[in-house]
């Protein structure tokens, strides 16, 4: 962090110009921090990208089966009911969580100005997590599913992942404990929140559903709570932490308002944890559960507006950076998707709208908005920013980054749009008493072929991205120092 130069302000923003005399010292410190973190962070990135490729392939198979049920139908482990959860698990726990943890470790290390010690513990954590996940997804594909949507991983495999997480989370906490910066940046708030919330809701939910006292519908209540937390209290805060770091860094100006950021964080923490029950709308639960969920969803407007205001005003006048900087292009796309996903989330929780799109692919569209269009895009931006600092060279080719962006942005947007249209048209048919249920399905199905095609684009985009990352691991790239940009802005950027 460059913020050492402003000891008089507790709320030092992320990027204050460095006083020249300390410049060299800060640069040395940063490179020490980066080289200490390089090993584990690159392992997190590498495994997450491997999972991203697995998830893209599983996503394509899942999508194909929606319009061609005969596709690969005689392979038991690839039947829709097995491959669909495997896809979601690979996407959330494989790609999203691992890349999120890698980015978080690096951010914590940088923001707390502490070089990482004993990186082997983090590596061990990653090994446990990956091992548990391979076992978990393998079980689901082999026909051992707990039957709880979102929590399919068997207890033993989930326990392995939990142990892995504890090693990783503990290291994050230690970095915070030994921080050398008096002010605590807004990114650190979100990271501490995510790293604290995850083990609690993961542990509570997985243990609770195995308890004999927890019966019937309560298991569904816990599953809804868990799924919502996984996206809102784990992935979203990590995504926001990265965006709160990257945007001010790359546009080289401080966060617009720390007070807004603070309001945003606390309302987010308070209401975010209460939104889950809106998922059970209309279900066999006492009505007040759902009412609480809807009320919390509506209150989420407060954190959404504050977070967005902050990003927009920080970017204000610097939006041309989107043309030059890969990091900003991905991150900005993610922030816009975050805004859309939040407002769609509020809208979809309202009873009138929910009664149309409940039980349709619209929910899958919402989930992909959060996990792919928002979170993954911000993480791509973060990888483009962080990796050169760890390997000592810059990305080889701006064209490869461009291909990745086009495939990810258009492919992702197409998948989400197709799912949303499918959900809306099926939902509108579902409430038409003259339409049979078979008609509902047929109308919703029209869009799935487009979705499959988009998965092909996304798969290729991810392959190019993985190749590019592999080249970075092999130190094949541009000489270090100047970031690889889409175009030359004619000025020093970062």
């Amino acid at each position: 962090m460059t913020a050492v130069a402003a000891p008089e302000s507790k709320l030092t923003p992320a990027a204050v110009p460095v006083i020249p005399s300390t410049d060299a010292k800060v640069a040395v410190e940063r490179s020490q921090i980066d080289s200490a973190a390089a090993g584990p962070v690159l392992i997190f990135f590498t495994t997450s990208i491997a999972w991203l490729l697995v998830a893209s392939l599983l996503g394509f198979i899942t999508s194909m089966k929606l319009h061609s049920p005969g596709f690969l139908a005689d392979l038991p482990f690839l039947t829709y009911g097995r491959v669909a959860p495997a896809y979601n698990l690979a996407l959330t726990y494989g790609w999203a969580s691992l890349v999120g943890m890698g980015v978080s470790i690096w951010l914590m290390s940088r923001l707390c100005r502490v070089p990482l010690r004993y990186p082997g513990v983090l590596v061990l954590g990653a090994v446990f997590w990956n091992l548990g996940l391979v076992l978990g997804i393998g079980s689901v594909l082999a026909g051992k599913n707990t039957g709880i949507p979102g929590m399919e991983i068997p207890f033993g495999a989930a326990a392995l992942m939990f142990i892995g997480y504890l090693l990783i989370g503990l290291w994050g906490a230690i970095l915070y404990k030994f921080r050398r910066n008096a002010p605590v940046y807004i990114s650190v708030w979100y990271l501490l929140g995510a790293f604290f919330w995850f083990p609690w809701f993961f542990g509570v939910a997985h243990i609770a559903v195995t308890m004999p006292q927890v019966q019937g519908v309560v298991q569904s209540v816990i599953a809804a709570w868990f799924s919502q937390n996984l996206s809102l209290l784990w992935l979203t805060p990590i995504g926001l932490a990265a965006a709160y770091y990257l945007i001010p860094k790359v546009v080289n100006r401080p966060i617009y308002s720390y007070n807004l950021a603070s309001i945003g964080f606390w309302t987010f923490a308070l209401f975010g944890g209460l939104t889950g029950m809106a998922r059970l709308s209309g279900g066999p639960v006492p009505a007040w559960f759902v009412t609480v969920g809807i009320a919390a969803n509506i209150m989420m407007i407060v954190p959404i507006v504050t977070v967005l205001t902050n990003f927009i005003f920080t970017m204000h006048g610097q939006t041309h950076m989107v043309y030059y900087s890969p990091t900003i292009r991905f991150t900005f796309f993610g922030v816009i998707a975050f805004a859309i996903s939040c407002f769609v989330g509020v809208l979809a929780s309202l009873r009138g709208f929910d009664s149309i799109v409940h039980f349709t692919q619209f929910q899958a569209a919402q989930q992909h908005l959060v996990i792919y269009a928002f979170f993954s895009m911000v993480m791509f931006g973060a990888i483009y920013y962080i990796t050169p600092r760890l390997v000592g060279c810059e990305w080889l080719s701006a064209s490869l980054i461009k291909i990745h962006f086009l495939g990810a942005a258009y492919g992702g947007a197409t998948i989400i749009a197709m799912m949303a249209f499918s959900g809306l048209s099926a939902g509108l048919t579902m409430i038409d008493p003259d339409a049979t249920f078979s008609q509902v399905i047929q109308i919703g199905q029209v869009y799935f072929a487009g979705s499959s095609l988009a998965y092909v684009f996304i798969l290729f985009a991810h392959l190019f991205f993985a190749l590019h990352f592999l080249l970075m691991l092999l130190r094949i790239g541009q000489p270090g120092g100047e970031p690889t940009l889409f175009a030359n802005p004619g000025q020093e950027t970062h």
Partner: protein, 220 residues
Amino acid sequence: MSRSSYLFTGIFGTFALSCLALVVVPQVQIGNLQPQVDPESGEAYPIANARKGRDVYAAEGCFYCHSQQIRDEQNGLDIERGWGPRRTVARDYIFTNPPFLGTMRLGPDLTNVGTADWRNEAKEDPRKPARRNAAWHYLHLYQPTSVVTESNMPPYRYLFDLRKIGGERSLDALNVPTKAGYEVVPKAEAKELVSYLLSLDRTHPLNEVKAPAGAPAPAK
């Protein structure tokens, strides 16, 4: 350090509130429901359903496309579509762990698929089978489009064996074209799954559910 302690108190407090409101309180409120016992006949509903087919239903991920919950008239047309006579409530599921409520409907709701009245066709559609019995379900699992032409359900041929006919044809052999001298018979998993599907019936009246307007009063 006080700033840190505020931060941690807040992070902990918001989580504790979420966990209390959405896990602990629901468990206290609906975690101890008991079956409803008819004071005259002593008949209890629901009763535990320990059919192995539940595991097959979970393993094959049936619940990703089929829900098992009937919503009331304010929340959709579940009852009108013929999926059940009344909405389901928490008590219907006290012995089902997990309850397979479902989040998506890429296929019809199966809450009451074991009952004779269950239908997914329009009310007067002649294609509705008199009853979806075991033979119907086997055919439907083996080749869905053979009984529902427009079905988008994947075929589950791997739940069946192709067996050489030795002497008599098996009783449960499927009436599908296959190699001469061979027959298609359900594996154990298919039998368990179908037995589970045929057991699905949550039409028993419950005191906390009002029968929907126009529906016949529950039989005494």
